[in-house]
């Protein structure tokens, strides 16, 4: 599956089917992350079940305790 994450084309395994599993893949599963899917900001409690598919455009912003 091919996604556009923050404008970058990224090839990912088809086993990643939801926003939740994508965040886990990036090690962000337990972090506060702002997720925008195809120009709509998702409510945090919908990340787990929101489905993603080939060609989707995502914007991800997370937060760090470091510079």
């Amino acid at each position: 599956m091919n996604l556009f994450i923050n404008g970058q084309s990224v090839e990912l395994s088809d086993s990643i089917k939801t926003v939740g599993s994508l965040l886990n893949y990036y090690g962000l599963g337990d972090k506060v992350v702002i997720v925008e899917l195809n120009a709509t900001i998702l409510e945090k409690d919908t990340h787990q079940e929101t489905a993603i598919s080939d060609g989707d455009k995502l914007e991800l912003v997370h937060f760090v305790g470091g510079g």
């Binding site: 506060v32 702002i34 937060f63 760090v64 510079g67």
Partner: protein, 385 residues
């Protein structure tokens, strides 16, 4: 018109500033070229934390260089003040890396004991001890690593200070001058081409931060530097409500001079867009209020964004171009460029003067990704950290 400089530094951030300062101090005739204003990009956006022990793991090839760099600040601070009158606002009161869950308590205690074994200063503070020193902290904070030697500076003051001090030592600075390409001849660099004309030198160092890739592509070097946007905000209070930096997973609070508190930071890879999003700022404030509820009473100051130069393997690029003699690169310092600027300045000045640097820089070679790149897919999930 046809002046030949001993060295040309491209980029007026903290890294270019530090190298220009070292070279000028050693008597070189230096030209620093910046396409915007000096200290206007990542180096003015940074929180200025000198967070070696709070941020870097000991296995990281940067750890001991970072310790050395951190130790250079007290002298550097005096030198800059004496040379050009700029105070870099070094505050050496230490940092609390705070735990808000039992898992963090356990993890941090483990890190603490391994850091102590290698001789670093680190102490565990219970919630009671912590609240004694920082009475306005929330009781959600269960304890903290106290890292006495992780200080902080004002990042814009440091960057300006190094460049102004370089000028006192004879360096020339050209702002609003864009380096369009490198002048190369028979396997060596001979100068740079800018919108203001050509400038000549057989020693050129590229310190253009997140913007470094394009300039070097024409030399056949495909550096893997990419932009990672970060947003921050600041507030002010009438009376101090925080005395030391609070470092937590997902948010930091840095008390600056004049009762300012700086709160950071967001992370968004692959964008050069410096707009600040209201959403990010509201998330940051939420986190800050959780740690320090009294920050609600503070007065809003401002918010801003900067673009960190990240690399594929998270390590900076420091060295000479494999194919062009005299062409040097120092970039990719990601979230530690302020901390690493003093050591980078000295190491690069050594290389450019054909002396061996005092630290091992083999992990930072410019051509290391030739090997790293065998399987790009494997490293692709690193991009977001």
């Amino acid at each position: 018109m046809n002046q030949i400089y001993d060295s040309i530094v491209i980029g007026g951030g903290v890294i270019g500033g530090s190298i220009a300062y070292q070279l000028a101090r050693r008597g070189q005739n230096v030209l620093l070229i910046e396409k915007d204003r000096i200290a206007s990009k990542a180096s003015s956006a940074a929180a200025g934390m000198l967070a070696v022990q709070a941020e870097l793991e000991e296995e990281n090839p940067l750890f001991y260089s970072a310790i050395q760099s951190r130790n250079m600040f007290p002298n550097l601070s005096e030198e800059i003040l004496d040379t050009c009158g700029i105070d870099i606002e070094l505050i050496n009161r230490g940092m609390y890396k705070v735990a808000v869950s039992n898992k963090e308590v356990e993890d941090y205690q483990q890190i603490l004991s391994s850091q102590k074994k290698t001789g670093q200063k680190a102490e565990w503070m219970s919630q009671d001890q912590l609240l004694e020193g920082e009475p306005y902290l929330s009781d959600e904070v269960l304890g903290a690593m106290f890292l006495e030697n992780d200080g902080q500076v004002s990042a814009p003051q440091l960057t300006n200070g190094m460049i102004k001090a370089a000028i006192v030592f004879g360096a020339e600075v050209k702002e609003f001058t864009d380096v369009e390409s490198l002048l190369l001849k028979k396997g060596r660099v001979v100068g740079v081409k800018t919108n203001e004309g050509d400038f000549h030198s057989e020693n050129v160092v590229v310190t253009t931060g997140a913007w470094s890739r394009g300039l070097l592509r024409e030399t056949g070097l495909n550096l893997n530097v990419y932009p990672v946007k970060g947003e921050c905000l600041s507030v002010t209070t009438n009376k101090p409500i925080l005395s030391r930096t609070i470092f937590s997973d997902g948010c930091y609070l840095v008390p600056k001079r004049g009762n300012r508190i700086l709160v950071g930071a967001s992370v968004k890879p692959y964008t050069f867009n410096q707009q600040v999003s209201a959403h990010s700022i509201s998330m940051l404030l939420d986190k800050a209020i959780k740690l320090l509820p009294k920050i609600k009473d503070a007065e809003w100051e401002k918010a801003w964004a900067g673009i960190r130069p990240q690399t594929e393997d998270g390590l900076p690029y420091l060295g000479e171009h494999p194919d062009y003699r005299g062409l040097f690169v120092a970039t990719g310092h990601f979230r530690n460029g302020i901390l690493l600027s003093p050591i980078t300045g000295v190491v690069m000045a050594d290389l450019m003067e054909r002396q061996s640097p005092t630290i091992d820089i083999s992990a930072f070679r410019l051509d290391r990704h030739d090997r790293l790149y065998v399987n790009q897919k494997e490293v692709s999930n690193e991009f977001i950290h």
